[in-house]
Symmetry: C2
Subunit: 137 residues, 2 copies
């Protein structure tokens, strides 16, 4: 890893301006990442990056994450062939989250269940006290 | 709060099926929420909900969050008038994140900086070791 991310500014106004990317990792050293498909803008997954994964993602243009369950660097698609090529990356006002728009290679699925998106279920029952999950794919 | 969310199943397959919504809150009692604008699908913010905020969001159809900085329930737009009406909610395979598609009322901005989206800056320099933030709005 060659990118040495600087610490976020304590001045909120500086954090919100243009300039160097100073990601704010949480107490576990992670930043939340929302992943969208460049073809249709659909949100396909949500994952986490540590500094190493974020640096590798930026430097190589291929999405890397940190697996919280396996506690290790995770190059998405390394075994499945479904690599994610980064088309663009955005960060939010306090630089504690990123969106990456990706081109999915291989069979174009992001979810381990074999679906394109991990968000394949709708929460039915908004406006009620009995929310139920219903698959849409 | 009237919704009493059941604990997530320990069997991963059950978690991934249709059925009751059993959100998996993290060790702080929070679930990550991605918020999109129903008009154009744009991701406008990322926030967190505790069980109370999630229940109120589902029951009332108006987005409620948990403010980590203020450590309190946060009905988005209560002071600004920019309420978010929930059009749909989706959850992911392990039920530890939700997406809500919202109709933004008031002046239609989600970010405290006055911009529509918190993700107003692009990380320029993908493929390099010198990422820089550039505003797009």
């Amino acid at each position: 890893m060659t990118i040495d991310f600087k610490s976020p500014a304590s001045d909120k106004k500086l954090l919100e301006q243009d300039g160097p990317f100073t990601p704010k990792f949480d107490e576990k050293g992670l930043i939340t990442t929302v992943v969208t498909d460049t073809n249709d803008g659909q949100i396909v997954m949500l994952a986490y990056m540590n500094a190493e994964a974020l640096a590798l993602t930026i430097e190589t243009g291929i999405a890397h994450y940190y697996s919280r369950s396996r506690q290790e660097l995770w190059k998405k698609g390394e075994t499945s062939g479904n690599l994610q090529e980064v088309v663009s990356m955005h960060t939010d006002c306090d630089q504690d989250a990123v969106i990456i728009e990706v081109k999915m290679t291989g069979d174009g699925v992001a979810c381990h269940t074999g679906r394109k998106s991990c968000f394949y279920r709708k929460v039915d029952g908004i406006g009620s006290s009995n929310p139920t999950l219903i698959s849409e794919e």
